[in-house]
């Protein structure tokens, strides 16, 4: 199972060594979930909110990581999909009087379906056409959110979004809701972890490494890339479904095009293709600005500049840097035992 799929050939890629340590990913996820369950106990309302926001953003980034990091597609509508999820959940739980869980499921299904419809014409032609179609779609969704006041409240947004009640437990308090977010994030991260290890996931990987070879092995490129895009979009829908009750008030601004760009930069900053990358990317994009308030609006520029520097120095992002550091540390003691001449090689 931990074997490297043969079709990746001899191409060295971050995914290869990543495959060998997949269980490290699983352990990290579980340990982090336990830590995050307890950590905010003394952090107060705002600190807890920032942590929850980090996880919610990480879900959207995880989805985009599947689309970009594994299928190699540029989607510029992740924030728009998140908006669809957030507004769907908000409307269903307030005006629709529905429980959170069915609203969450509908948000995911809706964004999945929209992803299929949007991706089909673009991917029929060329992968980079998806970027332009999603770019235009992002603008369209923003227009609908802003203009259809009867439904979305326009620029005034929707307020009083209730926090969910599950199995008789009210999750109104910030700590209870945070723990709920931790559990949902863990479930979604595990689902993706499983998906990537499944034959489906291997097909995604094959596509990224060598699409022509994957096609010759009988993988239908178009269907698989379309599926990766739709699943990635559904994750944005799930993130939106958590975002709405977290902030309890939504308006169109966090779902604009620039937010989609920002999410994409988080994928790259964390390390595109790495399972834990989205958490690091979202940490840099969401949590760090809270502690760098002094820089004011300049943080966005700083973050973008860091990403450009990372892309030049190490396109595999922070996870790639960590991996490089890790291999360097592991090699050094082994090298010491070797004769000088050989270690110089």
């Amino acid at each position: 199972m931990s074997d490297i799929p043969s079709f990746t050939g001899n191409v060295p890629s971050p995914a290869r060594s990543f495959w060998r340590r997949t269980d490290g990913v699983l352990i990290t996820l579980l340990v982090a979930a336990v830590l995050l369950w307890f950590v905010p106990a003394g952090m107060g309302r705002y600190g807890t909110y920032v942590l929850s926001l980090w996880l919610v953003t990480a879900i959207a980034v995880m989805g985009l990581n599947l689309t970009l990091g594994l299928a190699g597609l540029k989607s510029l509508a992740q924030a728009a999909f998140m908006g669809i999820g957030a507004y769907a959940t908000a409307l269903l739980t307030t005006k629709g009087g529905m429980g959170w869980l069915p609203a969450f499921a509908i948000s995911g299904l809706l964004t999945f379906a929209v992803g299929l419809v949007l991706g089909f014409p673009a991917l029929r032609v060329k992968a980079h056409y998806l970027a332009f179609v999603t770019l235009a779609f992002s603008t369209l969704i923003w227009l609908v959110l802003r203009n259809e006041q009867w439904l979305t409240g326009g620029v005034f947004g929707l307020s009083n979004i209730p926090r969910p009640t599950l199995f008789g437990m009210k999750l109104d308090g910030h700590l209870a809701f945070h723990r709920f977010v931790v559990v949902v994030t863990l479930i979604l991260a595990l689902a993706l972890w499983w998906l990537i290890r499944s034959p489906w996931g291997r097909a995604f990987l094959a596509l990224r490494e060598n699409p022509v070879r994957a096609a010759s092995l009988g993988i239908n490129i178009r269907n698989y890339t379309l599926l990766a895009f739709a699943i990635g979009s559904a994750y944005a829908g799930f993130a939106g479904a958590l975002y709405a009750p977290l902030v309890e008030f939504i308006d169109p601004s966090p779902f604009a095009l620039s937010a989609s760009f920002f999410l994409l930069l988080m994928v790259v900053a964390g390390g595109s293709g790495y399972q834990l990358g989205p958490f690091i990317g979202a940490l840099l994009g969401v949590v760090l600005p809270e502690y760098l308030r002094v820089t004011g609006g300049l943080y966005l520029i700083l973050f973008a500049a860091i990403v450009v520097a990372l892309l030049i120095a190490c396109p595999q992002g922070i996870m790639g840097l960590l991996e490089r550091g890790w291999t360097a540390i592991r090699r050094r003691p082994a090298g010491r035992n070797l004769p000088v001449k050989e270690s110089a090689l």
Binding site: A131, L135, T139, V307, V308, L311
Partner: protein, 292 residues
């Protein structure tokens, strides 16, 4: 009918500006496989730079315009190529495209924090009167924009097809390997396209800012229209990008007038999807062969 013609001319004027942005976009794409997602911001920034020079350095407008455009071409033609495209192109198309998105954020936020979050009026170099002609009122400014843009595009087309350097540029775009063997300085030709792109963007900026005002967020819409124009026109042709720009501009103007002002942006999107479904190589594009 008089109204229709007025909208048509307004659409052609904005379309000519989108065409300038779309042509630069396709040129850079052809010679270096750079998908520049900051193209809209490239059109937004020169006007802001000029205004900043006027406000902060107290320069007279004509001097600020010359300096601003020169500064922009140096920074975002030469500088962009040297600092972002060159080190990143070896990693492939995808990281470079994402880097241009980061650049878009930097330019946009930089304009907002460094200059102003408000829309600023931008003096027009062109006459602002309207002409009445057989019951049709035509803005002279629109006519002048169309003329200036057409002269610029015509000049570019002449340069690319008729001059030695222009043909070298084409060769470098079509087959860099063979061009190099034939003794064409490919690297210099690629740099030239980046300078031309920055120049076209600066021209578009100076032309559009008197109409739409100079604002940090202008890039989003202009960029979107430039991308749609490039795809509709065929992604690999100067005349395709020109036609695409004009079509998109006219459709946008007519949509705003006859469909709905709040959904005018949606109409070009529909056009984009139709083109991708029906004629994915664009109206004037050649079918590209799949390279393995």
């Amino acid at each position: 009918m008089a109204e229709f013609i007025a909208y048509l001319i307004a659409g052609l004027a904005t379309g000519a500006i989108y065409a300038l942005a779309a042509i630069g976009f396709t040129l850079v794409w052809q010679t270096s496989q750079t998908i520049n997602f900051a193209q809209g911001e490239f059109v937004m920034l020169p006007a802001i730079l000029i205004l900043a020079l006027v406000k902060l350095a107290g320069a007279p407008f004509w001097l600020a315009a010359v300096l601003g455009v020169a500064l922009f071409i140096a920074l975002f033609g030469w500088g962009f190529k040297i600092t972002i495209v060159d080190p990143m192109i070896r990693h492939g198309v995808l990281p470079l495209a994402i880097a241009t998105m980061a650049l878009a954020i930097i330019m946009k936020e930089g304009a907002k924090d460094g200059f102003s979050a408000e829309a600023q009026s931008f003096p027009s170099l062109l006459p602002a009167q309207t002409l009445s002609f057989m019951g049709i009122s035509i803005s002279l400014q629109h006519i002048a924009i169309i003329v200036v843009a057409c002269v610029a595009i015509g000049g570019l087309q002449w340069f690319v097809t008729r001059t030695r350097t222009g043909r070298q540029m084409q060769a470098a775009a079509q087959n860099p390997g063979v061009a190099l063997i034939l003794g064409i300085p490919v690297a210099r030709m690629v740099m030239l396209t980046f300078l031309i792109n920055a120049g076209l963007a600066a021209l578009a900026s100076v032309l559009i800012s008197p109409i739409y005002l100079a604002k940090f967020s202008n890039g989003e819409v202009i960029g979107l229209f430039a991308f749609i124009a490039a795809i509709v026109g065929g992604f690999n042709q100067v005349r395709g990008a020109l036609a695409g720009g004009l079509i998109v501009g006219v459709i946008d103007s007519l949509a705003a007038a006859y469909v709905s002002t709040s959904y005018r942006l949606a109409v070009p999107l529909v056009l984009l999807v139709i083109i991708i479904l029906v004629k994915p190589e664009g109206l004037f594009g050649r079918k590209e062969e799949r390279r393995v």
